[in-house]
């Protein structure tokens, strides 16, 4: 991919990661109170991962929006790779959160005092659906770009 679609995709991926982190924080921590701020069993590695992603997702959100503004002032904004990147980024963060952070590192669980399996499955299946949707958009954009170029 040339620079322009790649920058659009990058901006989308960053915003996807940022939005997924933001939804996780507002919806699951603050509104539903399903996630806990701190789980007594959280190992140090979980806290480090959480801290890095917490800081990173803020940076991603703000940085991605400025990237969009930059693309627009250069009249280089392309919606398809941007949306593809966004879905891909959101799905990847969700999958990382649902597998590595919740399960492997034991940061905290999705919800407490319930049968976890359906929650974990829903969480991670949504993540995979987002990733696939993003990948489909990106592949379609690429095919269209190749066919118009040739």
């Amino acid at each position: 991919m040339s620079t322009v679609p790649r920058r659009n995709m990058l901006s989308g991926v960053l915003l996807g990661v940022g939005v997924a982190g933001f939804v996780d924080e507002t919806v699951f921590h603050q509104l539903l109170h399903w996630h806990h701020f701190y789980d007594k069993s959280t190992p140090a590695m979980g806290l480090i991962s959480d801290g890095l992603f917490h800081a990173g997702s803020w940076f991603c959100t703000v940085g991605a929006l400025f990237l969009v503004a930059d693309l627009r002032r250069r009249a280089a904004f392309r919606a398809t790779p941007w949306w593809g990147g966004l879905l891909l980024g959101a799905g990847a963060f969700q999958l990382y959160d649902g597998t590595v952070q919740h399960k492997l590192l034991g940061l905290h669980q999705i919800r407490y005092h319930v049968e976890l399996a359906p929650y974990d499955w829903t969480w991670n299946v949504i993540a995979v659906v987002l990733i696939v949707a993003g990948a489909v958009l990106l592949v379609r954009f690429r095919r269209a770009a190749v066919s118009t170029a040739s």
Partner: protein
């Protein structure tokens, strides 16, 4: 103690306003916006160091944390954007100004103002303060109380200046390094906050430790977002395609040879 801090803050306010006056008397311009930022920053520090919040902070960890966020993050953001070094360089007589810029270029200052050094001093100081007995000792020794607060304010300023400073910084690393250090610092802040949630500093009751830690985490977020927005805004302005084509070479402004430092945006548009 509040008296000592009060005198220091008042002196800083008087010096800045007098320097701005000197610059104006010489027929040059100094943006009132910068003066407002400086006075706002000092007022923010004053809220943290004197008055009811400071009194409350002696026995309440949450109040202490609110003070820390104001003194170590919010006040530095305002003070750094007020470009005090640029003002000093303009207000001082030529000889002293040259001396100051020599000091700014010296090796110790270069090392001290590097984002990594500043970040380690800032975050490291907080880890030492809250995870060792320093926090408890601070309540018993006035000199330690002063030292801790000076350290928090000074390293807060140093770090903010290293990331988004508008003052002369001829050897400042590029935006990638600064972004990476900023993320690492914000992460260290968030990790410390969660750690304190479960392990409050010695002498702090568990419940107070939890509210204080949550304030540190989410209050820190607010200050962080402001810092990130300013950082991105500076990147956005410096990569303006129109300005770059007009300026010629594709070198970031802070690396242009022969122009070792930049004035704040407001200062430039007003002066020229």
């Amino acid at each position: 103690m509040p008296g000592l801090f009060g005198v220091a803050l008042l002196t800083a306010a008087v010096l800045y306003v007098a320097a701005a006056g000197t610059v104006r008397r010489r027929g040059r311009w100094w943006p009132p916006g910068c003066t407002t930022l400086w006075l706002g920053g000092l007022a923010t520090a004053a809220v943290a160091l004197t008055g009811p919040l400071a009194r409350e902070a002696h026995h309440d960890f949450t109040a202490h944390m609110a003070g820390h966020l104001l003194l170590g993050m919010t006040a530095p953001l305002l003070l750094v954007l007020a470009a005090p070094v640029t003002l000093a360089l303009r207000a001082l007589p030529a000889r002293q100004a040259r001396g100051l810029s020599r000091i700014l270029r010296s090796l110790p200052v270069r090392v001290l103002t590097h984002p990594v050094t500043a970040g380690v001093l800032n975050a490291g100081g907080l880890w030492v303060l809250y995870t060792t007995g320093v926090y408890r000792e601070m309540g018993q020794h006035p000199w330690l109380h002063v030292l801790v607060h000076v350290h928090v304010a000074a390293t807060g300023y140093l770090f903010t200046a290293a990331i988004i400073g508008v003052d002369p910084a001829p050897h400042r690393p590029g935006p990638r390094t600064r972004a990476a250090v900023l993320i690492a610092f914000l992460a260290a802040h968030a990790i410390l906050a969660k750690h304190l949630y479960a392990h409050p500093p010695a002498g702090v009751p568990a419940a107070g430790g939890r509210t204080g830690a949550e304030l540190m985490y989410y209050g820190g977020d607010l200050a962080d977002v402001a810092l990130i927005v300013v950082f991105c805004l500076q990147w956005y302005r410096s990569t303006d395609p129109r300005r770059r084509s007009a300026a010629g070479p594709r070198i970031p402004a802070h690396r242009l040879p022969g122009r070792p430092w930049r004035l704040p945006e407001e200062a430039r548009t007003g002066a020229e």
